[in-house]
Symmetry: D2
Subunit: 338 residues, 4 copies
């Protein structure tokens, strides 16, 4: 941490910064510039300290953090790539893992036909929402318990693992009985009671990035899961909020390389929520694989025109099959497979 | 809702849109433009429908919602201003209500001295966090239960009502025993299980705007509280995420007038979290009152240099007293009082 | 400038950073942390250097600038407030200066009647666009030369100084003959040939903030004017681009206090372009004065319903008169006058 | 254009909207909803009209544009893909065109060696800045005229066409003598006098997207070039401003597919300015090709450690060669070549 003193700050002010550091078990080194004194705060955990601790002292102009705020999710903490294994499917390795299925479970046929369709096209995991967080209370909120039961039935019949969203800490244990991967939605990325509960559950978690979360905040949120001893963490980029209105969210394609550089966790991409329109899902999915994503989370519906939620961004099964064929080429071109 | 057909869309495509509308009990009217057909979808609840329902149909170019997505929070639903009364303090009326206190309850003395200080300076409600949602799991998480007990003691001794944050639906009932107003933090604005629980509790709620929530999404989140029959809802603007990095968050000053125009709910402003620095709190607080805010939520600490959380943005008691005097002048200049 | 070396960086890498600094006439001081070495680069102009100079060297993890990138516009360079005087009207002092008039000069009557109206209501300067930068080439582009002539006539008849926009460096001298203040529009904030030409002209300049410019970039753009010896620089906040769509631009109300803290230049606010709707202009104008703005730039039209440009955000003369009366109260409440 | 009237708007208000439309040669159709009247404004050029024309009328609640604001750049205007040919190099076709070279021309050797290096690696066009728009007036501003002469020499010796930036309308003709493609930088995307001059020049233009320009505004800026009869227009996505600070700009990868959907113009991507760091250039370049970009604009420097501008984001020649080999695979996987 770097503390910049104000021009002409009093000796006593400098002294106070040094003492506060010492009181916290931290070292300091003073740099006498031509115009101002700059104090380096030295220690192994300065990334987790608030800059306010020093910024609030008299004579301080600004405080800059040099170390990252996240710890357990960082490459510095663990240099080797983390692999998350779900029922034999490995996320974070040589294979690009595709999770696909409807936004919401609507009824038995819809789920079964979609699941069979995506399996045939090459998906390894089936997605399907039972508890749907909706912007308006007057929108369809999901089949809830009945949806979970259909998902479990599907796993039995179709033979693919299931990912579904959990929105309430009190439901973590219950949903764990039905699903293989628990998904934290973008709006819950900083729902800390939920993260703590999921950390304790030790179940594989997909942690979606918040709509306006920086990559650093996203990795710090992952620390909540890791701090409870759950290392089965998969990050998921799904678009961030920007001023651009031709898409639903702006897919932050650079976040994939940034995550790979600074973290050991696998990262997948949800092109459907970013695109908001089935026409745009393909290009975004291809870009994600080319940029190094470990997997994809794609909305597919046996009949998008009748979908209760997100029909416009859902691919039909034939369109998904076509996309999978294209993605296989891209994966190959970056030395991976699907 | 306005459905724009593609140039040269087939008759059957137009027909399908009309039929889907009819199936949902909605009327339609066709507009034959020079280049394309535009279909108006008519009905009283089109604001709550997803545009996807029509956008997904063949031949449709785009769908635009004319009605707002929120309903119960809108002026159209209730034209008269809502007043929320807490222990005799009325929010939404002629008086600008100031809620002040420390970010986090740290210990007995800190809370009592701060509470007495802000009361003397003219604050009507004391704020204080017991359960703190923190970006990193390694930061101070609040005194929790012990913090609530100190808040209850403070109310007894100092005689001001209490606002505190709730982060977990399962704690709503428990925290209701200690606090007069329950606060939903920015990161929980779309935590729907929490909102539903708070709606059922019928307790006064301060609903902070999400970091990247539009005003429309914020009001739609308020619909979750109102839909459960809780009309004691106060909105709180606290800055939005933008590219600007000289402040912690960009206070969206226009949101006050926008909320007043489209909603009947009272709206207050938290200048502390937006500013991120005590130097900037004053100008933002004054701007908020001049723009028509119904109240303020300000972080004050008896000794900001020793604060465990958010010290840099906390006002000392003398600084808060000085600000209150300035705010009284501004309030008067817009025909209000403090 | 603070250079953070990678964990385990080689001695030679550290040496190279030190040497590059020395070659540039800069000092260095090494801080040996527990995990990494941090090098402070010391010198008086490090704010104007690119961080790339060091970031590109082997073994460097990151480089953080401690000093601000702007120089001449900073309080460090000149601590006293700059006053800009136009024809006896002082901007930056005790009086809140109101500049008002139509977005575009349309015809003689429109300009004269509007100018007389705003003068009577208390405006000190008349605004009016002759060369209009429009998003589409098919929109009205202004009366151009004929518009300037009408502005000069107006100044003669009505007796108020004129502010108008300049969009092309080759027109600076010509427009200077007609106008008292030259305005740089938001889209031209980083049009450096234009800024340089205006700097040389020594004419008072209003420099609008770019749609997505940080305050630091805005002040660095002002350096272009100041570097040519033109100290007649007034900054103008007019709203930034954010995700919020209920207004045209999000007025960054905190920028006023931030500018006041870090710069000596006066800052005014254009509430009209931010609001995008006449209903919202009043609250934003009041907030700006309460937050400490030195002036306002407001769009007024004798007949907004017939305006060729920006009619929706223009105030009619009666509405402007009413607002001026309200603003006088606000100005008084912060110890100023209008 | 869709005009939504206020609930209970007077008959006269509705009448006025209809009359204003008629006066402008537009048709109308009235839709009587259950709560409000909605008026469709019909005509072929409603995309180019300001919504204010109707929004300002009494009784109007809101106005929504259905047609796009751009015209000549739209697929509706011209359905077939535009190909831009520079010295035999075709942009917009089956081949991904790579333009590469230093950010700024610094001296003869630097330019020649870099040009030879990128040519050998497979680049088709050399980039190099002579007039550099820099944030601060105290930064290196380019070699100017001398830089152009070096570029012309390079073309002669190395045999590749040249792209360079133009920042001042008065220099368009002069720079046209030295360069094959004229580049409009992001900060000048809405410098309309510059666009008009470039339109008249009929020279191939690369139009970079503004830092905070929507795709619709970008295409509308292209209309300025097309309206002057210049059809040699290539769009260039280079990252937009967002809250994320781990990269210099957020590459808007979806813009490629959006442009392809709504416009006939070719679109290339500059991964260097978006990334801000050479480590991230590769993943972004690969993503761009996978998403369908027609070309790339990449910063390469013979010795990035000595670069005067943007060294950190420049690739060395060996790194560029390696990237080109990877890009060839990606291009092949999407049915293209490099």
């Amino acid at each position: 941490m770097i503390v910049e003193m104000k021009k002409g700050a009093a000796k006593g002010d400098v002294q106070r910064v040094v003492e506060r550091a010492r009181d916290m078990g931290l070292g300091t080194q003073l740099n006498y510039g031509t115009e101002k004194i700059v104090i380096a705060i030295l220690g192994s955990n300065t990334g987790q300290l608030s800059t306010d601790i020093f910024a609030v002292l008299p004579g301080v102009e600004s405080v800059v953090r040099v170390m990252k705020p996240y710890k357990l999710a960082s490459r510095g903490f663990k240099s080797q790539d983390t692999l998350v294994t779900i029922d034999g499917v490995e996320v974070g390795g040589q294979r690009v893992v595709v999770m696909a299925g409807p936004c919401a479970v609507e009824h038995r046929n819809q789920l079964m036909e979609t699941a069979r369709g995506v399996k045939k096209a090459g998906a390894s995991i089936v997605r399907g929402g039972a508890f749907k967080p909706r912007t308006s209370p007057f929108s369809f909120q999901g089949l809830r318990k009945a949806g979970l039961e259909l998902l479990a039935e599907m796993r039995q019949e179709v033979g693919l693992p299931v990912i579904t969203e959990v929105v309430d800490p009190s439901q973590v244990n219950m949903i764990s009985k039905y699903a293989d991967i628990l998904q934290v939605g973008a709006r819950n990325m900083q729902n800390f009671p939920l993260l703590t509960k999921l950390g304790k559950s030790k179940r594989p978690v997909v942690l979606k990035r918040g709509l306006s979360a920086t990559v650093a905040e996203w990795l710090t949120a992952a620390d909540y899961l890791l701090a409870e001893g759950n290392e089965q963490v998969i990050l998921c980029e799904r678009g961030i909020r920007s001023f651009e209105d031709s898409v639903r969210f702006s897919l932050d394609i650079s976040s994939i390389a940034v995550v790979k550089k600074f973290s050991h966790l696998p990262v997948i991409v949800d092109p459907s929520h970013a695109a908001g329109h089935h026409d745009l899902v393909g290009p975004l999915a291809k870009a994600a694989v080319a940029a190094g994503a470990d997997g994809l989370l794609i909305e597919v519906h046996v009949n998008p025109q009748e979908a209760l939620v997100d029909g416009l961004q859902s691919l039909s099964i034939p369109k998904f099959e076509k996309l999978m064929n294209e993605l296989r080429q891209i994966a190959k071109s970056v030395g991976k497979s699907i």
